[in-house]
Symmetry: C2
Subunit: 299 residues, 2 copies
């Protein structure tokens, strides 16, 4: 089944100990798409500004991403400037230029409204809700957010949590929103806010999945070639949701395998800047690394 | 095969958000013994002071620990006072009273010198080396240390690393000794210092194992009942080394299974104060939790 992702399309300027890039293609919806496209058709809902290079649009098109609902507005494309130091676990935001994002009203074409798999990547929770409400009977909805919304739009976020099937958060966000420091307690608390499933991303330490039916955890895929972790979480979500959308059923088995696919997809993302590695991936690359991953964690 | 552990026998005073204990039985060698005893005969090499309660000696004896080389000296038993706050991931040391530990010269009885499996739990690296040198041809030697020795006896520690088969460190120690922030790079660097195998303990995030032959990782066993994590690392090492000592071969398969046993042993340790839970364990409890653990991380 097709998947629809609402999120950002951005121009990222990133500096890490291994190099730097200026105004490269980035954003949550883009990173999500790069892994999800390996499993299913991806429909991108986002906004760009007048300054957005045509080559990036051509690139996304060539990667098979459906751009019907990528709207262009006057003004500047959303820009993020960040730096990573040391172990590259934490991004230091140097500058954020919202540009057209500040006037973003998501557009979804009529036929896209029937898409059953939805991922609400990180944007304002009011925008996420607005788009979700415009959809016809979605079947499975994933939600990502960030600390800024947890602190500044908590009410909107809590309302939205009642409408989604899975909430995806990093460990810091999970602790902040739940008020619990133990991650399993945090997951239980977030689950009590509404979503049937909670997925906590722990960066280099892997992921923790929680639902009423089971708890599951995976370490990260081992790589010592961490060049740029920007977008790893969205790449993870894209692999996970993309795989689920490609299956007939969502059950324990497909969720676990989806988490494993998300993990290996994210491991490719960190190995180069932006989407430089993930945009070149074929499904075979994921399959191959999934096999390696089993050796790495099955006892 | 029997195992010999050099380490501390301590009286721990611990406060956590869930309660407090005064002068309870603790120390690296004790925590190690509680899990290793489930797999093999454990010989404890340590020192206690004149104030050490007889009931603790009786208790260790009842648990089957061989106390031939537990020496008693004038002076006070090693005492540690610590507190855990928040997510209980970091111990705050409020006080350390070395007592007899400051004059410790390990004694190993003649027949114990033939023991092939050795674990050098955290004490002064010079004392660890001295005892190791007194052994007749050990077959497999594990080493633990701590930040204090990394900072203050780095040379002794580096010398010792050339003599052991596996170095066990937590993530902070691994980073400090290697100078690398990425944990896989840190493991590689530590491996280059001598030991064939490196094991990095990441607390609630599980473990990372590194050798020339393979890399392996496991998440922690999921528990939201973290009461007192003191000794979790030594309990892990005891489960791991104890299992290996009980096998005929040390190979990829037994190492992976040993790491899984160490993980579940450590998960029991954190669920109550000191050795209150681990001292009551039977091997069946570990087997049962190992099965649960598979469900929790196999995809």
């Amino acid at each position: 089944m097709s998947i629809l992702v609402l999120g950002t399309v951005a121009l990222d300027t990133v500096k890490t100990p291994f190099g730097a890039r200026k105004h490269m293609l980035g954003g949550s919806a883009v990173h999500f798409s790069m892994s999800a496209r390996l499993f299913t058709e991806v429909n991108l809902v986002a906004i760009i500004g007048a300054d957005f290079p045509q080559k990036h649009i051509d690139f996304l098109h060539k990667k098979g991403i459906i751009l019907t609902s990528l709207i262009k507005d006057k003004g500047a494309t959303f820009k993020w400037v960040g730096e990573y130091k040391g172990d590259l676990n934490t991004a230091l935001t140097l500058n954020t230029e919202l540009g057209v994002l500040s006037v973003f009203k998501p557009y979804v074409s009529t036929e896209q409204k029937d898409i059953k798999f939805i991922f609400l990547a990180n944007v304002d929770p009011d925008i996420q809700m607005q788009m979700l409400k415009s959809m016809n009977q979605p079947h499975f909805v994933g939600l990502d957010s960030m600390n800024f919304w947890i602190n500044n739009k908590r009410k909107s976020l809590l309302k939205l949590l009642k409408e989604v099937d899975i909430y995806v958060a990093n460990d810091q966000e999970a602790r902040a929103l739940s008020g619990e420091s133990n991650l399993i307690k945090a997951a239980k608390k977030l689950h009590s806010f509404g979503p049937e499933m909670v997925l906590i991303k722990k960066g280099e330490h892997g992921v923790l999945f929680y639902s009423d039916k089971f708890i599951f955890s995976l370490p990260a895929y081992p790589t010592d070639k961490v060049i740029d972790p920007t977008g790893a979480g969205d790449t993870f979500a894209g692999g996970f949701m993309g795989y689920l959308a490609s299956r007939k059923k969502i059950n324990g088995e497909t969720i676990k395998k989806g988490l494993a696919f998300g993990t290996v997809a994210a491991s490719f993302n960190v190995e180069d800047f932006g989407v430089e590695k993930t945009s070149r991936l074929k499904i075979n690359d994921l399959d191959k690394r999934l096999k390696e991953f089993k050796k790495y964690t099955f006892f």
